[in-house]
Amino acid sequence: MKMLLVAEYRQKKLLENYTELLAFAGEFGAECAMFLVGDGAAELPKFAGKLYLADVATYGEYNPDAHKRLLLDVVAQEQPTMIVFSHSSYGWDLAPRLAASLKAAQVSEVVAVDDGRLVVPACNAKLRRTVAGNGAMTIATLQAGAFSLADAAAGSPEVVAVTGDGQGRVAFLGYEAAEHGGVDLTKSEVIVSAGRGVGKPENITLVAGLAKALGGEYGASRPVVDAQWVEHNRQVGTTGLTVSPKLYVACGISGAVQHLAGMKKSEFVVAINTDRDAPIGDVADVFAVADLKQLLPVLTEKLQAL
């Protein structure tokens, strides 16, 4: 099997997630080539194989029209059986453009390989779907963190420069940095997070109260931050912070993939949720099947009395 792996370059840096693409290819024992719009003078992916490199100074970090055309040229040369991206803001944006052009099946957010077939989540990770492409070529995007190399990536690529038409209909104007300031959750030993299950903004005080009783900080999942019940600098998950405290208490958090990615390395996880099937159960050491509005006041009071 032949794979073309698509690496990413953002804010003048090669992103580390190319190693996850290599780990995935390793599961198939595939022969690999890589594609990158990056900087040949800077750090390159560590692997022994062909690296099709387009110059970021010409083609930009985000220019989907140009990147698609460059990739199509490389695909025509390499004729891979599979083209592999990370399921990232770059990958989920570019992969369907390529899939539509090539009339190739696209499999989004692969979490596992089962007997050579790709497995993806469905319904907020409550279900898993095993899929198969109908044609000769498949495009896959991999869930962040689903595949990892046992050993550090090694080797030097054989660089093949690629060029093409750099025009694009979407103009990149600039980056906006993450909001910082105030509390730094990543330094906290205990984090108690609020999810959609808190129900209303007044109940954030219950979550903050438990955090205080445990000597920690409170955080939140994305819906709670989107609703502006909690500030963005307390958001845990893919688009917020990645944390690994000694204790993580998830209150009313169902456990969407994006949230789990931000907290699954916590040492000890307690879930408090009325739905015992919630996917947060996959990473919980203790699962209290309870309404947080009833449990949190009692738990906080008992902790304060210790």
């Binding site: 985000y62 803001s89 989920w92 099946a105 469905a122 409550k126 279900l127 919980a284 699962f287 210790l306």
Partner: protein, 256 residues
């Protein structure tokens, strides 16, 4: 100006799912249905553009008859008319086929701006919007969390990882896929719900739009294996609290 917003009806994600008899999708009986959450942001943004510019706004939805209930919500939020692409098999179609249906409907309508959610909550492929744009040869921007329209130009913010955003610009016609948090979707008011009942709701059979052949099929749908083997605590909240504190004392160094 002409606007199109594409929505999907999905089950409430808190539902207890069962696998259907064919083993390739969830059982669609006994579920509460609602508008895909991402699409609520798409509808809200489209309605805001309509209100600011006086544009004409069509909402499109593919599926069996029951999706009309969800379309009524979009009409009550402010869409001018609905186009229902009737398709009892839509849950078995892959993203490319769904995109081909939307593109077949939209191709000669002259839409200036098309809004979609960035993904659906049930399939979560995140492909339909971008593929639709590709089939219509439109520029597309995905995962937007900020939107501004000035004249013929949209300036939008894409959400990247770790809280970083990228600002990009495109000229109309264009397609955008909307991320959660883009705006605050409105709740339809009672008068608007009543008005929505009188709005035009056109039905087109999917077969009349000649959907493309599928590229991808589901082999099986399964429940994930439960990992971790965590302890479940249930019952009286006082007892649950006591047991939880005992466990935290044993397993962590935090309550010593």
């Amino acid at each position: 100006m002409k606007l199109l917003v594409c929505i999907k009806q999905v089950p409430d994600m808190e539902s207890k799912f069962k696998i259907d008899a064919d083993g390739v999708w969830y059982d669609r009986g006994d579920l509460a249905w609602r508008m895909n959450e991402y699409d609520e942001y798409a509808v809200e943004q489209a309605v805001q553009v309509k209100e600011a510019t006086g544009a004409d706004l069509t909402v499109l939805c593919i599926g069996p008859d029951q999706v009309k209930e969800t379309m009524k919500k979009a009409l009550a939020m402010g869409c001018d008319r609905g186009v229902h692409i009737a398709d009892d098999r839509s849950h078995l179609r892959d993203p490319f086929q769904i995109a081909s249906l939307i593109a077949a409907f939209a191709k000669d309508k002259g839409f200036d701006l098309i809004f979609t959610g960035m993904q659906s909550q049930d399939r979560g492929s995140g492909q339909v919007g971008v593929m639709t744009a590709e089939l219509l040869s439109l520029p597309a921007v995905t995962t937007i969390v900020g939107f501004a329209l000035a004249g013929n130009t949209i300036t939008v913010k894409r959400e990247l990882e770790g809280g970083v955003k990228a600002t990009v610009e495109a000229t109309l016609p264009a397609l955008v896929t909307c991320q959660l948090g883009l705006n605050t979707p409105r709740y339809p008011t009672l008068p608007n719900i009543m008005k929505a009942k009188k709005k035009e709701l056109l039905t087109v059979a999917a077969a009349d739009l000649s959907p493309a052949d599928g590229l991808l099929k589901t082999v099986k749908l399964t429940f994930p294996e439960k990992k971790g083997g965590g302890v479940f605590l249930e019952g009286d909240v006082g007892e649950v609290a006591d047991r939880l504190i005992r466990i935290l004392k044993e397993k962590t160094s935090l309550l010593a």
